[in-house]
Amino acid sequence: MPRESGTASEGRCVRRVATALLWLTCIASAPSARALSIYLDPAQAVLTAGDSTTTTVRVMGVGDGPSDAVGAFDVTLSWDPAVITLESVTFTDALGGASHALGSTTEGAGWVRLSAVSLLSTAALAAGQGDDLAIAVLSVRGLAPGITTLAPDGDALFGDARGVKLPITGTAVASIQVVPEPASLVSLGGGLAAYAALRRRRLR
């Protein structure tokens, strides 16, 4: 169960502001043609080492017209493997679910590649998708204190319902900070206090 803390609340606020700024930048620079933006939406921006959280991979700008849809994607996400590690990937039903889509994952240290294709007809696909689409959910676990970004690489490829490449005009990365476990903080604090007391005694 994720623990709420003052640090976490601050981190979430920072994340929201950063995400909003990125979106403003993306929207301002977006061409008028149909184009996608990818953003990663972590459930927690601050994570205690040893705890897990999820990050949803979303795309915006799909459009909600009768033929607007994502029919396939191939995207690689990367992070600092010293800070977090990937536990699992779950594809959403956006492309048709297990019965009407195919997907695959490939992973290395600090990266994962997600590929999927819908088997639905163009019309059925468009009917099931809106302008804002969650395509996958990553579960990550904090390893050691530090800050890392979780970001798509520049080779992300998205196709529309007909298999035509969709231009990607912006990305919003997720920033995740891993903090030490509380027990470690208590030990560290106690050690520092003992050291200070010892210093004062020696000075007297």
């Binding site: 396939a72 990937l86 699992s88 594809f91 195919l102 695959s104 994952t105 088997l119 007809s121 007909r162």
Partner: protein, 658 residues
């Protein structure tokens, strides 16, 4: 040496060893008699006995606690001879003009059954009792789908068996020949009494047809036709009421009609009929198979009525209409019992002597009604399906075909052929949500013929001096078009009805450079070879692409797989794009293409990407990309979505870093 040679010759000429005694039983899942199992008995396992005569054979096999009883009977007074016997109903309750079959055992028997059997060998002893017998059989208990199949030998020589007997040499085995001693390959039997016209002295019409609409209680919404081989017909009268009946064992039907009371029956139309005749209304009551009406409303046309001796009716022809309980949807029926031919012969579109409602291939003449695979569809119609297909090869940029390559066959699609008003040929193709229309027409004043038709423009707006061509579908059509077509086969019957058509075509929409090319084959005679799934004239065993028509067998890269099998997205080369193929493309993302024709590179950009996988998903033969039953390559490595992606991830995690 001479003695040894004589001995060798004697041994060689000695009677061949007989295969002996054998009973093999195979039951389909759900079969009541044998069950889902395979049983096999020889005379080492049990005791075989036989009895019967020239028309019936009974075999009993007693093995341990199990005893099996098999009965085979030919129709009427005909003798059993080697050959096929169809439409066999439960012995000994078969109709006088039908074949009988019964397979029972283990304490189990059918109340009703249908089936068929083939006599492979039959020889009688001097007393007329069978002594050598072999047959195979198939029986469906209670008329259900599951069957008991089997083979029985009684002191039989075993295979190879002699060819079925064909006394008159007309190509129709005696066992199913409606006139076995007079050559009548057409097997015409206009009065449908089971006796071919070639040897039918009594030319009269006997049948019952029932056309029951949905909601009708009596006919239960069925369309039924009964002819003499399926049961007995009888007509009688009592006073002025006439009673006509058909008794087919489990199915029986009866019609009572009367003129208004006080009137005498005479041919004519009788309106306002009710169940019981009154002074001002005639009577009608049609019932059967355990169902009857308390009240009726209807009418009938009495077309022929000839009274015989006593209560007999010698000839009856009546068409009737009845609403059960006076308000139900009307059932239509026709009774003919020894009626004169002018009062209606059942329709027989292909003129092969078997009326349409009983014909297993009503539009293609097939006098013997052969049905080798027992699917209820005659071999002639199976061949039609095999020799019928429409293929599209659309170039990228072609508006109509959208760059797709499609194959619609008579097996997986509805392909209809008819004449169009341009004096040519029109085809419609329907497969799921796919609809296509193709029109071919000669220049005005010309007849369609085998040959080349160049400079075609869009049908039906072509200039009178040029041919017309139009291929459209899925909501797309050209405003204008140019093209050509080559008619390879065009065959019509004496009535001008289209029988066969084969053509290749090329169409350019709006004068563009991108072509839609294709092939059309409808009942193409030279594509009707057995064992040729794609109907391209090359037997499957020799075909370098057995599921896609490629009569030219071109294999440019000499890999053993014909170029036709390099259909875009058809990675496993089985002629159909399905889920497996899309998975294979997805698994090959980032794989270098093997050639410019790599089927995985759907968009031909030189790289296999997820965009190709998506394009291939849209090429699937079935909406939703369901897998087809055709044999194909192994499963792709791509994973089904949500199918434990994390498990796969864990396995992949052990791989190195990029």
């Amino acid at each position: 040496v001479k003695r040894l040679a004589a001995l060798a010759i004697a041994l060689a000429c000695a009677a061949p060893a007989r295969a002996g005694y054998l009973l093999v039983l195979d039951g389909d899942p759900g079969d009541y008699i044998v069950g889902d199992q395979h049983l096999e008995y020889t005379d080492a396992d049990g005791h075989f006995s036989i009895s019967g005569d020239a028309r019936t054979v009974h075999v009993v096999v007693a093995a341990g606690n199990a005893s099996w009883y098999l009965d085979f009977a030919s129709a009427g007074t005909r003798t059993l001879v080697p050959g096929p016997y169809d439409h066999a109903t439960r012995f000994p309750f078969q109709s006088p003009q039908g074949n009988g079959l019964s397979v029972t055992g283990g304490g189990r028997g059918c109340n009703e059954s249908v089936g068929r059997f083939g006599v492979l060998e039959l020889e009688l002893d001097p007393n007329g009792v069978p002594r050598h017998f072999a047959a195979d059989f198939e029986q469906h208990c209670e008329n259900g789908e599951p069957a008991s199949h089997g083979t029985v030998y009684y002191d039989s020589e075993g295979p190879p068996f002699a060819a079925p007997l064909d006394s008159d040499g007309d190509g129709v085995p005696d066992s199913i020949d409606d006139c076995p001693d007079v050559a009548d390959p057409a097997q015409r039997d206009v009065d449908a009494d089971g006796i071919g016209d070639a040897c039918d002295d009594v030319y009269s019409i006997t049948y019952l047809t029932i056309d029951s609409p949905a909601g009708d209680y009596i006919g239960q919404g069925k369309r039924l036709t009964y002819v003499p081989r399926e049961g007995s017909f009888h007509a009688s009268h009592g006073g002025d009421s006439v009673y006509a009946a058909f008794d087919g064992g489990s199915d029986w039907w009866g019609l009572t009609i009367s003129p208004p009371t006080g009137h005498t029956f005479a041919p004519g139309a009788y309106e306002g009929a009710q169940r019981f005749a009154g002074p001002s209304n005639p009577g009608i009551d049609f019932s059967g198979s355990g169902r009857g009406c308390d009240a009726t409303a209807g009418r009938f046309d009495l077309r022929e009525l000839v009274y015989g001796a006593g209560d007999d009716v010698d000839s009856l022809a009546v068409d009737f209409q009845q609403s059960c309980e006076a308000f139900g949807p009307p059932l239509l029926g026709s009774f003919r019992i020894d009626a004169s031919p002018q009062f209606g012969v059942l329709a027989d579109r292909d003129g092969d002597g078997t009326v349409d409602t009983l014909d297993n291939c009503p539009d293609v003449p097939n006098p013997g009604q052969a049905d080798s695979d027992g699917d209820g569809v005659g071999d002639a119609c199976d061949s039609l399906a095999d020799a019928t297909f429409v293929r599209f090869d659309s170039e990228a940029g072609d508006y109509i075909g959208q760059g797709r390559h499609e194959l619609y066959t008579g097996r997986n699609s509805s392909i209809q052929l008819e004449g169009n008003y341009g004096g040519g040929v029109s085809l419609s193709v329907t497969q799921g949500i796919d609809d296509w229309w193709l029109d071919f027409a000669p220049p005005s004043g010309e007849r369609m013929h085998v040959g080349a038709f160049g400079s075609a423009t869009r049908f039906p707006f072509q200039d009178p001096s040029v041919p017309g061509l139009d291929v459209s579908g899925e909501g797309r059509g050209c405003n204008t078009s140019t093209g050509r077509f080559d008619v390879l086969e065009y065959d019509v019957d004496a009535h001008g009805r289209l029988l066969r058509f084969a053509a290749d075509f090329e169409q350019h929409c709006e004068g563009g450079v991108h072509a839609l090319r294709g092939k059309v084959r409808y009942a193409a005679s030279y594509f009707a070879e057995p064992g040729d799934r794609d109907g391209d004239g090359v037997p499957d065993a020799d075909d370098d692409c057995p599921n896609a028509p490629d009569s030219d067998q071109i294999d440019a890269d000499h890999d053993g797989r014909g170029d036709a099998c390099t259909q875009i997205c058809d990675v496993d080369g089985n002629g159909v794009v399905d889920r497996r193929d899309v998975g294979a493309v997805l698994a090959a993302v980032d794989t270098a293409t093997t050639s410019v024709d790599d089927v995985r590179d759907a968009d031909r950009d030189g790289t296999v990407t997820v965009l190709d996988a998506r394009a291939c998903a849209l090429h699937c033969a079935i909406d939703g990309c369901a897998e087809t039953s055709l044999v194909a390559a192994p499963e792709p490595s791509a994973l089904a979505l949500a199918a434990a992606a994390s498990v796969a991830l864990a396995a992949l995690r052990r791989r190195g870093t990029r």
